[in-house]
């Protein structure tokens, strides 16, 4: 029997047997097989080997499927990120409400989550009359009140920009809390109250946790071939 010299055709015999060739390559390989005795014999051998190879351990697919459904709820993986985002938003809203509720409980008054502006007086003076402050109100429906965003229009003698209450240096003897619109009650909060409120809000992150990386490395290490019969 002559040795086949058409390695490309011979290499496609398993594809031909498994019906994985497109029409044109299939015709080409079939034509080659009719003329090549060695490939015809090899194709016959492959067809005889296939039933031997497909016999293997029998597993209970239904049992495995049940285990998968029990251990991995549907859409858990792909929707994990979206779920985390929703949870983060819900947690942020809950924290904001809790912080406000805490402030209300402490003061026993109704406070709306508007912007509080703290500024230092000029020199030793505790009179705020010489400072003009304009605040940017926060929409009432915002789930997480942002840190006070302010635009300061200094009066002629003003020198202090605004900062979150918890960053006010302790050396300041006193602070003045101003409010805009409905924030009259917030002015009555003590420095500690405001610090507690803002500290709670500072801990909120709008970025949900990233999906944990799967502990699988599909293209990782290889199984060592112990045959010594194959060349790499």
């Amino acid at each position: 029997m002559s040795e086949c010299t058409n390695g490309e055709m011979r290499d496609l015999l398993p594809e031909l047997m498994n019906g994985r060739l497109d029409a044109m390559p299939q015709l080409a390989v079939e034509a080659h097989v009719t003329e090549c005795e060695e490939c015809a014999e090899e194709l016959e051998l492959l067809r005889a080997l296939r039933p031997v190879l497909v016999r293997g351990p029998v597993v209970d697919a239904a049992k495995i499927a049940a285990a998968v459904r029990a251990q991995v709820p549907a859409h858990r993986g792909a929707n994990r990120r979206a779920t985390s985002r929703r949870l983060a938003l819900a947690a942020a809203a809950l924290l904001a409400v809790s912080a406000i509720g805490y402030a209300i409980a402490v003061r026993g008054r109704t406070v709306t989550p508007e912007v509080a502006v703290v500024h230092t007086p000029r020199g030793d003076t505790r009179d705020s009359a010489d400072t003009a402050v304009v605040t940017a109100p926060t929409p009432a429906h915002a789930p997480v009140p942002p840190a006070p965003r302010t635009v300061v229009t200094p009066a002629p003698e003003q020198r202090v920009a605004l900062s979150p209450p918890h960053t006010v240096p302790s050396s300041i003897a006193a602070t003045t809390v101003a409010s805009v619109g409905m924030l009259g009650n917030l002015a009555d909060l003590s420095e500690d109250d405001v610090r507690t409120l803002t500290a709670s809000l500072d801990g909120i992150s709008s970025v949900p946790d990233a999906d944990p990386s799967p502990d699988i490395d599909p293209l990782g290490a290889t199984i060592d071939d112990q045959s010594g019969g194959g060349g790499r």
Partner: protein, 184 residues
């Protein structure tokens, strides 16, 4: 079961994965039923005997648990084979077995050998089985993936963590070894 549907009507893996991501747990069942047996064959070809079903189950649990990392760059089947191979490697390392190659036992294949005994077909099949048995785990797994599953060398390379060229060489070496064995 997908077997109940003509192949042209059966949803492909990508469609089933999308359905599962949308909350359809039945899609997971269909995917498992479609691929479980071939994953078991692959695991068996790599020398695992005692815990094939456990490995297959772990493969699917792991796959569905990290499905968001499946980019579709390979087929779902190849991805499953890769996971199975990694799980099996970890198990084999854990056992610290000195010998990974577990010989195929007679009762693995011929559960109804009595009925076939004495026939030419049975003798031929037995000879072929013996020839396959002489292959190394890597040769056997590659040969099985190529002949029984119809995978391309590229898919095989991904599944076994090798290269296309190495997969091709292993396949042809396996074919030569089988020929020599049955010609003895």
């Amino acid at each position: 079961m997908t077997d109940h549907l003509p192949s042209e009507l059966a949803p492909d893996d990508v469609a089933l994965i999308a359905r599962w991501r949308g909350g359809d747990e039945r899609a997971a069942t269909l995917l498992v039923e479609r691929h479980a047996q071939r994953i078991a064959r692959f695991v068996g070809s790599l020398g695992e005997r005692d815990e094939v079903e456990e490995v297959v189950q772990d493969t699917f649990v792991r796959a569905f648990g990290s499905l968001d990392s499946f980019r579709g760059e390979s087929t779902f089947r190849t991805w499953l084979l890769t996971i199975a191979r990694n799980l099996l490697r970890d198990r084999q390392r854990g056992r610290k077995r000195a010998k990974m190659h577990v010989e195929i036992q007679d009762d693995d294949i011929f559960s109804s050998s009595d009925a076939l005994e004495g026939t030419v077909a049975a003798e031929t099949e037995e000879r072929l089985r013996r020839a396959v048995e002489t292959l190394s785990p890597m040769q056997r797994s590659i040969f099985t993936l190529r002949v029984a599953e119809g995978l391309s060398y590229k898919e095989i390379a991904i599944a076994v963590g090798s290269t296309e060229g190495a997969a091709r060489v292993h396949y042809h070496n396996a074919m030569r070894a089988i020929r020599e064995k049955i010609d003895e």
